[in-house]
């Protein structure tokens, strides 16, 4: 539970910053290609996006694991759910990191 609560509290603070960044200008304007590229290429912001990605992936897939373990129990089932959630978590972090790193380095 410590991981779940820790990731939740940290994510609340960082996601608030992420959402507030959309409100510094009009919503549509903040989503314009140049603005989004500029966001990714600003290293502190890209670092924050990476941290949010990790925090939310850990929190989300751990939450899914808890829901699935509440539904059904059993040695094989529990192992499959736990390993499946960890694999999905790693996959999502890798896919999201790829976008952040490539855009930050200007490979678009």
């Amino acid at each position: 539970m410590k991981i779940h609560y820790g990731t939740a509290l940290a994510a609340v603070a960082l996601v608030a910053v992420h959402v507030l960044m959309r409100l510094t200008q009009s919503f549509a304007e903040s989503l314009e290609y140049e603005n989004v590229i500029a966001n990714y290429q600003f290293l502190p912001y890209a670092g924050m996006l990476e941290i949010i990605l990790i925090l939310l992936s850990v929190h989300g897939f751990n939450g899914l694991r808890v829901i699935l373990l509440e539904l059904k129990q059993g040695r094989v089932y529990e192992k499959a759910v736990s390993y499946g959630c960890v694999a999905a978590m790693i996959g999502l972090i890798a896919y999201g990191s790829r976008t952040i790193i490539m855009v930050n380095m200007g490979i678009v």
């Binding site: 009009s26 939450g63 829901i67």
Partner: protein, 144 residues
Amino acid sequence: MTQQDENKEGIGGMINPRRYGIERVAYLLMRLSGLGLLAYFIGHIYETSSILKGEVGWNEFLELTQTNEGHAVLAIVIAMCVFHTVNGIRVMLGHGGVGVGKPARPDYPYTPASQNARHKIGIYSAIVLAAIAMMYGLAVMFGE
């Protein structure tokens, strides 16, 4: 063993919000909003990866999401996010012993001390704040 199996309600029991008051409704909404937010998060990661296709790819994907339907989905996501956050903080505080009352001898009618007015107000506040945030989100998205 057979008796035990018969008592398992499975997913039907998990999604049944009746019988146990607003706390049970909060339990169900917490799980539904969590699953919804996880689905949105995966979609959001996929959506933002379209920027790797350049300006054309990014604008094509924006055309799909920046529609009335897309804004309505985003408003629901905002509501789920606010409810999940506020109710999550309530659950964390309760888990830490905040607002659950003092330990006492269990006497008839065995009213659980932890399911008190403070936590009920917390749940209703989470629902009201989620509704307000959703309305604000709609005003921002459709007000342009």
